[in-house]
């Protein structure tokens, strides 16, 4: 026979315990609440005819939920609960604006507190970095720049590939920090190094790679990938340039008339109007990359929060 108010008494106690344990990781908290729930059930089994007072005695012996929680924090070394990562109108607006109106999106990203400064920096720099690289390549590329498809392929290959390299490194760093396996050298003092490496990899590749290898935050595999991916971009561009050199841009027709005069006429391709459209599309894809990255990061940060803080 259950006591008249058994359910209210027990569920009230367990609710207070769960609330007091909010600082613990969700799995630990669930385990402790389960343990205490079984304890109460076990203690009640020993009673022939239970009354409310019997139940209250069981709970008294168990102790104040706040005391159990304090003991749990001490024994299990839980940190106080971090402030929840917001996902409000501002964050949604920032991600949407990042795709549609890039400067406005960046402004909103910096206004939000949902991302770390590092994430904000990466999101801000990746797109201009890609565009800057493109500009440098166009200057180096010289005459080939006039061919619209070279322009198109440069756009496709370099910034996207380089951005992926940077995003990959940033995600790896995030994973390492999440797993708590950061090497001793990768303390707060050298965090600036990682930021610089991630930022400079898309901007000034050689400097970025030097910083990348100086840092201890990534393992060798990551460093190799981070080093090889941008030259992969270089390589792709080189192959395209070489193949175009062979194909020799434009079409030239050489004809000799009946008098033996040789005349040649060349037509060069001007960029058709739809190329501009394609370029615009690509430029939209890049912000999309960083917006997706921010969204993934935001979700990851939210997953780290204790579920359903009461």
């Amino acid at each position: 026979m259950s006591a008249p108010h058994a359910d209210q008494i027990v569920s009230g106690y367990l609710a207070r315990l769960e609330q007091a344990l909010a600082a613990l990781p969700p799995a630990r908290r669930a385990e402790l609440v389960d343990d205490v729930r079984s304890h109460i059930a076990e203690a009640r089994r020993g009673l022939a005819e239970e009354t409310d007072a019997d139940l209250l005695n069981i709970l008294d012996k168990l102790g104040d939920p706040a005391d159990i929680a304090a003991d749990a924090r001490e024994r299990l070394g839980a940190q106080p609960a971090p402030p929840p990562v917001p996902l409000g109108m501002l964050e949604i607006a920032a991600i949407v604006a990042l795709v549609l109106v890039w400067p406005a999106g960046i402004a909103l990203v910096w206004l939000s507190s949902a991302w770390s400064r590092r994430d904000k920096l990466i999101a801000t720099v990746v797109v201009p970095g890609g565009v800057l690289v493109l500009a440098i390549l166009s200057a180096v590329g010289g005459g080939y720049w006039s061919h619209w498809y070279v322009f198109f392929l440069l756009l496709l290959f370099t910034p996207v590939v380089w951005s992926i390299g940077a995003i990959y490194l940033a995600v790896r760093l995030y994973q390492a920090r999440r797993a708590g396996q950061a090497t001793p050298d990768a303390g707060s003092g050298s965090r600036l190094l990682e930021i610089a490496a991630v930022v400079l990899t898309p901007l000034l590749w050689p400097i970025g790679v030097i910083l990348l290898w100086t840092s201890t935050a990534w393992d060798t595999r990551d460093k190799v990938i981070g080093t090889l991916v941008p030259p992969g971009g270089y390589f792709g561009v080189a192959v395209i340039l070489a193949s175009l050199r062979m194909a020799s841009g434009g079409s030239c027709t050489t004809s000799s008339d009946t008098f033996g005069n040789v005349s040649s006429s060349c037509t060069t391709y001007g960029p058709p109007r739809w190329v501009l459209l394609a370029v615009t599309l690509i430029l939209l894809v890049l912000p999309l990359c960083s917006a997706t990255y921010l969204a993934v990061r935001l979700r990851g940060a939210r997953l780290l929060q204790p579920a359903a803080a009461s």
Partner: protein
């Protein structure tokens, strides 16, 4: 009184090893452990055994196993691991030496 905090901390620290000692030779479930400790007065509130057991499990000093009980739902039994036995052995030696040393000094000081 500063000694209060010290005694509380000593009791908390020693409690882990008392629980390990209760598990020597036999697995027990939490309720049995609480009964075993009841007479010592070391467990100020019964509920604090659960964070302690969680900690011991996390540190790999005990592992757990669910067993059917004759009169209700299954119970979680706690069992010493090899690491747990080693930790208990080390604590026993340390404790014996510590107790002897402190006793000797306290007795030398004479009674108040």
């Amino acid at each position: 009184m500063p000694a209060d905090g010290l005694v509380t901390q000593m009791r908390k620290g020693a409690l882990e090893y008392c629980v390990l000692a209760l598990l020597v030779g036999r697995s027990r479930y939490a309720f049995e452990l609480i009964e075993g400790l009841a007479s010592t007065g070391m467990l100020t509130s019964e509920g604090t055994i659960y964070p302690l057991l969680s900690r011991l499990r996390r540190d790999g000093l005990v592992d757990t196993e669910w067993r059917e009980s004759s009169d209700g739902p299954p119970r979680r039994y706690y069992r010493l691991t090899a690491d747990g036995k080693r930790a208990l052995r080390v604590f026993r030696d340390e404790w014996a030496g510590f107790r002897t040393t402190v006793d000797a000094v306290l007795e030398k000081g004479g009674t108040l």
